[in-house]
């Protein structure tokens, strides 16, 4: 640990070389644009730009590709907050409170909070990578199938009532999401489930299609002809562009909690920023003293998942760089770029290629600071976007949605999927179902099932495996407490209603339909 500081200084000297600085700047800039632009995925962008890096020196190549990845996260929340358009799945949950804030004329505040959460989360993730990488990696190895399975279950239990509205409907939607997640070829046996013979469904329903269908398309079906010329910006005032002191106070603790959740999630292979953001939101709503305000523009509902996403994005590099095990598809792509450059990622990367490892870390600092400098003044510009009349906005947004889902797999089938999901989603909205828990179930479900079955395979069918290790036993205990607590409170609430009904004869009916 003693030579961390000299190493880091060396890293800065690498990252600040004009050549490297330039490429890292190019990377974050492209990333930022991709992030803002609804319709172009990070994966698609990196794989398009990958061939360009072949001719570059390895350090510059990796700085640029990494820059695209974390740069995109800075822009990713903008459409979620201002247009309810989650073009990047890791920012989908930000829609839940970000968009209501926009409708209240507080879109600028939400963006400001996002930037703050982003920088804090990223900074924490980088610090972690500098000082605790070996320790954290050893924790990661403690997460076997049983631990991951129970963690996912806990996430589902906590998140089933993620959105506004009735708890039962929330549970129903979570289960629908879980079912959607099972579509495709079963990993274990190769059985095709719910594919109805469509080859394109063998790899499952597309996450981007689910997010853009349930939020984007459904939202436009809802708001066409109801939102008029620029009235999204109706109540906007200049001073609302900046978060007030009270806003900051409300955001501080959620940011901290989100950051911690995000950085822990990213250490578990296959649990990237998207899952991290959902878990952070669910946890935040759970522990909040006023869960009722979530979904109505709660600052905590924006701050926590955003911090979580960003810290997960940075911490994602820990297993990737120090172990050579990519946490998600984007990381796999970046590893591929390293391999093409003749650098073998893995445990020895730190010692064999200190330029790459420490240069990358230093470039994270440089890049994140650049991104904040770039984005904070832009908030005002983005908010102006809302003054575009809605009737011009939505056809353009639909076009971006189509392009985006096409680019994830280069298949028109994605567009068709999105359309179907959007129409179904709107129907559900009309019936009072909120689509957010579907996304939660869809994201967590496959992990849950896979690890549940794997844990049982490894234990030869012994269910005890889920309580044997202290980590999974803890998750199980937490889950049980949650469910029991929920039922207890629900019962008490019913009693209160009954008492009230006794006092005011008319109140019961009113409460039931209110």
């Amino acid at each position: 640990m003693g030579d961390t500081l000299p190493n880091l200084l060396h890293g800065f000297s690498v990252a600040l070389e004009p050549h490297n600085l330039m490429w890292s700047f190019v990377g974050v800039l492209i990333g930022n644009v991709i992030g803002v632009l609804p319709g172009m995925g990070i994966m698609a962008t990196i794989s398009i730009l990958l061939p360009l890096t072949f001719g570059m020196p390895p350090v510059a190549a990796i700085l640029m590709l990494a820059g695209i990845y974390y740069g995109a996260q800075y822009g990713g929340a903008i459409c979620s907050i201002l247009l309810n358009l989650p073009c990047h799945a890791s920012h989908a949950v930000t829609c839940l409170d970000g968009y209501p804030m926009t409708l209240q004329g507080r879109g600028g505040v939400a963006l400001g909070i996002t930037m703050m959460a982003a920088f804090f989360g990223a900074a924490f993730g980088i610090m972690q990578m500098i000082f605790f990488a070996p320790f954290l990696v050893s924790i990661a190895f403690k997460f076997g199938p049983a631990e991951v399975c129970t963690l996912m279950l806990l996430g589902l239990l906590a998140g089933a009532t993620l959105a506004r509205g009735s708890a039962l409907k929330g549970i129903a939607m979570t289960v629908v999401g879980l079912v959607l997640g099972t579509v495709g070829t079963d990993v274990d046996t190769g059985t095709a489930r719910f594919t109805f013979g469509a080859l394109s469904l063998y790899n499952g329903v597309d996450l981007v299609a689910v997010a853009l269908g349930f939020f984007g398309v459904a939202e436009f079906l809802k708001s066409v002809n109801t939102i008029k010329v620029g009235n999204l910006a109706g109540m906007m005032r200049i001073r609302d562009l900046r978060p007030s002191r009270a806003d900051l106070r409300q955001a501080a603790l959620p940011i901290l909690r989100g950051t911690v959740i995000g950085s822990l999630c990213s250490l578990i292979p296959g649990t990237g920023p998207t899952i991290a953001s959902f878990l952070a939101y669910a946890a935040e709503k759970r522990i909040s003293r006023t869960p009722g305000i979530f979904g109505q523009g709660a600052i905590a509902g924006v701050a926590s998942p955003e911090a979580s996403t960003h810290s997960a994005v940075q911490a994602d590099f820990i297993p990737t760089m120090s172990l050579g095990i990519p946490g998600d598809a984007v990381m796999a792509l970046i590893l591929g770029a390293l391999i093409i450059q003749g650098i073998q990622p893995g445990p020895q990367l730190m010692t064999e290629h200190p330029d790459v490892f420490w240069g990358l870390i230093a470039s994270f600092w440089v890049g994140n600071i650049l991104l904040v400098i770039l984005n904070v003044p832009m908030i005002g510009v983005w908010v102006k976007l809302l003054q575009i009349p809605f009737r011009y906005l939505f056809p353009f947004a639909l076009f971006f949605i189509c392009v985006g889902v096409y680019s994830t797999n280069n298949e028109m089938f994605g567009v068709v999927q999105t359309l179907v999901i959007g129409v179904v989603g709107y129907g559900l909205l009309r019936l009072g179902f909120h689509p957010a828990p579907i996304l939660l179930g869809f994201v967590l479900g496959p992990r849950l099932e896979e690890n549940f079955r794997r844990a049982l395979t490894l234990s030869r069918g012994d269910l005890g495996v889920f309580v044997e290790s202290p980590i999974s036993a803890f998750f199980v205990a937490l889950g049980v407490t949650l469910v029991v607590g929920q039922i207890f409170f629900a019962c008490r609430k019913t009693r209160v209603v009954r008492d009230l009904a006794g006092l005011v004869p008319d109140a019961k009916g009113a409460l039931e339909e209110s």
Binding site: L398, F399, R453, G509, A510, L511
Partner: protein, 173 residues
């Protein structure tokens, strides 16, 4: 534990006629949503059972979806029985059906898929934006034409040229 929303409910309860109408609508909605969820649950269960349940040591591909189907069915039945207390407030916005808006949006996306497959990104973009723009009641042919042309320019410059989008800008089958 009375949220602002519930307080609103008390006020609504004062107007009895409004309350009756709302209760009736709420009942239809309850039957519809509960019924749909129950049906979906049953359908999932029926299909999932055929995948194979496996054993405890090697759970089959049907186990998880079957459990999900069963849970969905139970939740659906509960939705049918339990009155919906926490009805969403913006549900008021769902009053009148807007067939024009809906069909234009749906046709716009469908047009993107069809034109994209047949003629490439440019025509697909034009069709998608042009058709969906008519979803708005105030749309004019001229305005929609300009909007669609602008979108085509964006598609050409940003996606095809800068981002090397993999769907060709124009092509024939």
């Amino acid at each position: 534990m009375v949220s602002p929303g519930q307080a609103g409910g008390y006020r609504a309860g004062i107007g009895v006629a409004v309350s009756d109408l709302k209760t009736a609508r709420s009942r239809t909605r309850r039957l519809l949503s509960g019924g749909l969820v129950t049906l979906a649950g049953l359908a999932v269960t029926m299909e999932a059972i055929t995948f194979g349940m496996g054993t405890m040591a090697r759970t089959g591909p049907g186990f998880f979806p079957t459990v999900l189907g069963a849970v969905l069915t139970i939740v659906g039945l509960l939705l049918l029985i339990v009155p919906d207390r926490a009805e969403e407030h913006d549900s008021a916005a769902f009053g009148r059906p807007d067939w024009r808006g809906w069909s234009c949006i749906i046709m716009g996306i469908a047009a993107f898929a069809i034109f994209g497959e047949l003629f490439g990104l440019g025509p697909a973009t034009f069709a998608c934006v042009f058709i969906s723009a008519f979803g708005d009641r105030e749309a004019t042919v001229k305005g929609s034409l300009i909007l669609a042309t602008a979108a085509v320019v964006v598609a050409a410059v940003v996606f095809s040229w800068l981002l090397k989008f993999q769907l060709p800008f124009v092509h024939w089958v």
